[in-house]
């Protein structure tokens, strides 16, 4: 496991902000994830050391809460709403279509680090059900055919990044 010095300093600063108190583990993890986007093993190890708790305990907490993730999110994180309204209007089939096309499961990231897939509960736009979010952008009334169209939008960005 390796980690660069400046990132170690960042984690140490976060821990210190919470007085290196092991009771604040969740807050520390939360902040660390906001900083790094995810919680790789190295980050957890440094947190464990600074909070004077075991690595197994830190990992126990990380693996318990679905909010915490150990896989880096893609450049374009895709979120499919699985709230009741979206669900009854076919969100699951939409999700399956994303899985099929991207060849990843929920919680995973494509090999080129471009897309990651997750589901969430109700974004409060039930009138648009089923709803898909890519990053901050909202897509409503998504159909199965619409899935490829959404992905294609990001294909162009990646193919010619110099234009932007």
């Amino acid at each position: 496991m390796t980690i660069c010095e400046s990132n170690v300093a960042k984690i140490e600063a976060i821990c210190k902000e919470f007085n290196n108190d092991k009771g604040e583990l969740i807050s520390v993890l939360h902040k660390a994830q906001n900083t790094f986007g995810y919680l790789p093993e190295e980050v957890q190890q440094i947190i464990a050391k600074n909070l004077n708790t075991s690595l197994a305990h830190v990992y126990g907490v990380v693996s318990f809460y679905s909010f915490f993730t150990m896989t880096p999110k893609g450049k374009y994180p895709i979120n499919i709403c699985m709230g009741t309204a979206c669900y009854v209007r076919g969100a699951e089939r939409v999700l399956d279509e994303f899985k099929e096309i991207l060849k990843i499961k929920v919680g995973e990231t494509t090999k080129d680090d471009k897309f990651s897939l997750s589901s969430l509960r109700c974004v409060g736009a039930c009138g648009l059900a089923p709803v898909v979010l890519v990053g901050e952008k909202v897509y409503g009334r998504v159909t199965l055919d619409g899935v490829q169209e959404i992905l294609d939008e990001y294909k162009e960005v990646s193919a010619a990044p110099s234009e932007y």
Partner: protein, 591 residues
């Protein structure tokens, strides 16, 4: 103690105020079943996760059943422990626990010694009502401990031992819901984690989720190989516990029967680790006196306190958690490894057997010993000083498999020359014993006077941390003792902070010392068993004519014929070791 009146199943009882229904019931002889609760009274350890829900009882006036382990008794409380509703609820709870549990009891390592199996038997389970989804975890084999998480019932006793008592932190509950399981960080193998192999998780596991790595079959094969000379050594704590596996009361010494059984099993020589314990005192004692004399002469570079190094779980612990202090413990190898080193040199030469044809088997109360013997520094050209370690439980299985009727065995004696030992050696098996043995010898060497009273009661007991000052004829020697790695940690932190006042500290990883080792017959949460074993070792010591290690004639002869004197060059080569930094540090790059 304040008491209150309660009723259990219409009988009146006086119970301690503030106690839970479960503890109160136990105090008046009423049994409430449980699968997760554990209370090690003498060790001040309570595990109360309210996880299994087997202990539910009815409380008159309350609508729902309550868990007895987590409900406090109140004055006048009426408890029902035997109603149909209670019994049926417990059965349903047990059925649910069984619904995802493998049913391979016939071929399970814990067959006959499993809390879940005996609970199912007691409750008369004859059908499995619910068929749940079965988990399929990869079996994890370390050099000492096997993990089969398909058999975990989520009692989490192992977590209390690993995190609270031992403060090792190798295990944690991870994931959630059905996927929740006990595992090391990132679900790595135990071998790659900070596990010390103390085996206390194994000692309290109610099922076969955590068991020892079984080497009985390998030993049986070697015993049947005519080209091998197979010798065995037995640790002090084994003789005080092996009998329990054959129905003897805890604390029954079965040294003679054990020796006879080992001879019947076909071991060519049956020796005693106690012999090597005496040898350890010669070396560790000499090291202590060397450091002490230099310290008293004003040498400020000398490292004190001297920490004992007989316990391999403890060695693993400081290598993982206190690597900055790895030059403080004694360099003396453990008795097991001293025995192996002498057996494969001095003894092999004596009987004219080549090293590779001599097999050394240890019977140990300990699982960390299984790992210890596999360490590279205890090998010569790849051949280990100790080939295999069997736990006390494995020896019992070996005896049972061979059809030996343990009860009818006539006691036999250990063989010579590595079977002779002093009373000081036999108390190595209990907390306080190693340092008492060291004091008996160190006193006489240091003061050049005869020690008449060899019993140091002030060093004995079960308290987690004990201390005492021994008068070495005008020089006060401060002794610290800790058992359980969590207590060792406390003393070690004092040493690290420069606040320690001790000259020597004895540390044993397991609660009670080796008598409570991870390889011993299971105590099922009854710490009285540990006390009985401890008493047995002290009475064994008392019954011996020779009670000081340096008076053991075989040890005197070993130095005369082979080693020269303690801490000689030869002794250093064979009987001392060095330690490693095993902290799992991560590499930090510039950018």
């Amino acid at each position: 103690m304040d008491t209150i009146s309660i009723k259990i199943d219409n009988k009146n009882f006086q119970v301690p105020k503030g106690s839970t229904i479960l503890d109160a019931a136990k105090s008046v002889g009423v049994n409430i079943p449980t699968l997760c609760y554990m209370h090690l009274h003498d060790l001040n350890t309570t595990h109360k996760p309210t996880g299994c829900r087997i202990c539910v009882v009815e409380v008159v006036g309350r609508k729902n059943l309550v868990p007895a382990c987590a409900t406090e008794c109140l004055p006048g409380m009426e408890i029902k422990n035997q109603t149909i509703r209670v019994l049926n609820s417990r059965k349903t709870v047990l059925q649910l626990i069984l619904s995802d549990h493998p049913t391979d009891c016939l071929i399970c390592a814990k067959n006959g010694d499993c809390d879940l199996q005996s609970m199912a038997q007691k409750m008369g389970i004859r059908h499995l009502y619910y068929e749940g989804e079965q988990s399929k975890y990869i079996k994890d084999r370390s050099p000492a401990i096997r993990r089969d998480m398909d058999k975990c019932i989520g009692c989490r006793r192992c977590l209390t031992m690993c995190n609270e008592v031992q403060t090792v932190g190798a295990l944690s509950a991870i994931n959630r819901g059905f996927m929740s399981v006990v595992a090391p960080a990132f679900q790595m193998n135990l071998e790659d984690s900070v596990c010390t192999y103390c085996g206390q998780c194994v000692a309290v596991c109610p099922t076969a989720a955590l068991t020892e790595i079984d080497h009985t079959v390998k030993v049986i094969r070697l015993l049947a190989d005519p080209s091998k000379t197979v010798i065995v050594q037995t640790a002090p704590a084994v003789r005080a516990a092996l009998g329990e596996e054959f129905g003897y009361a805890p604390g029954t010494l079965v040294t003679g029967k054990m020796t006879a059984a080992l001879k019947d099993l076909g071991f060519n020589y049956v020796f005693d680790t106690d012999f090597a314990a005496d040898l350890t005192i010669m070396e560790e004692g000499a090291e202590l006196l060397d450091r002490l004399t230099r310290h008293l002469d004003g040498d400020t570079t000398v490292k004190l306190p001297l920490l004992t190094s007989c316990c391999p779980g403890w060695v693993n612990f400081f290598e993982h958690h206190f690597p900055d202090m790895k030059d403080i413990p004694s360099t003396a190898r453990s008795p097991q490894q001293m025995f192996g080193a002498i057996a494969k040199t001095y003894f092999a030469e004596k009987i004219g057997v080549k090293r590779e044809d001599l097999v050394v088997v240890s019977i140990m109360p300990c699982l960390a010993k299984k790992y210890e013997c596999s360490r590279d520094e205890f090998k010569t050209d790849g051949n280990p000083d100790v080939d295999f370690v069997l736990s006390t439980r494995e020896l019992a299985r070996l005896i049972k498999q061979s059809g030996i009727d343990f009860d009818s065995l006539s006691p036999a004696e250990f063989d010579h020359p590595m079977g002779e030992s002093s009373g000081a050696a036999v108390i190595f098996g209990t907390t306080g014993g190693v340092i008492e043995a060291a004091v008996r010898t160190a006193y006489e060497v240091f003061t050049k006077q005869k020690l008449h009273k060899v019993d140091f009661e002030q060093l004995r007991g079960m308290e987690w941390v004990r201390e005492s000052t021994i008068d070495f004829n005008g020089t006060p020697i401060k002794i610290g003792i800790a058992h359980g790695l969590g207590n060792a940690r406390k003393l070690l932190e004092e040493v690290r902070a420069g606040k320690s006042q001790y000259h020597a500290i004895e540390i044993m990883a397991c609660p009670g010392g080796c008598i409570g080792g991870g390889g011993q017959p299971l105590h099922h949460g009854d710490s009285n068993i540990l006390k009985a074993r401890q008493k047995a070792l002290y009475s064994d010591d008392k019954s011996k004519t020779i009670r000081k290690s340096h008076e053991n004639p075989s040890i005197i002869k070993l130095y005369d014929e082979f080693l020269g004197k303690p801490m000689s060059e030869k002794a250093h080569e064979l009987l001392h070791t060095h330690y490693f930094d095993k902290s799992n540090s991560i590499e930090i790059t510039d950018n």
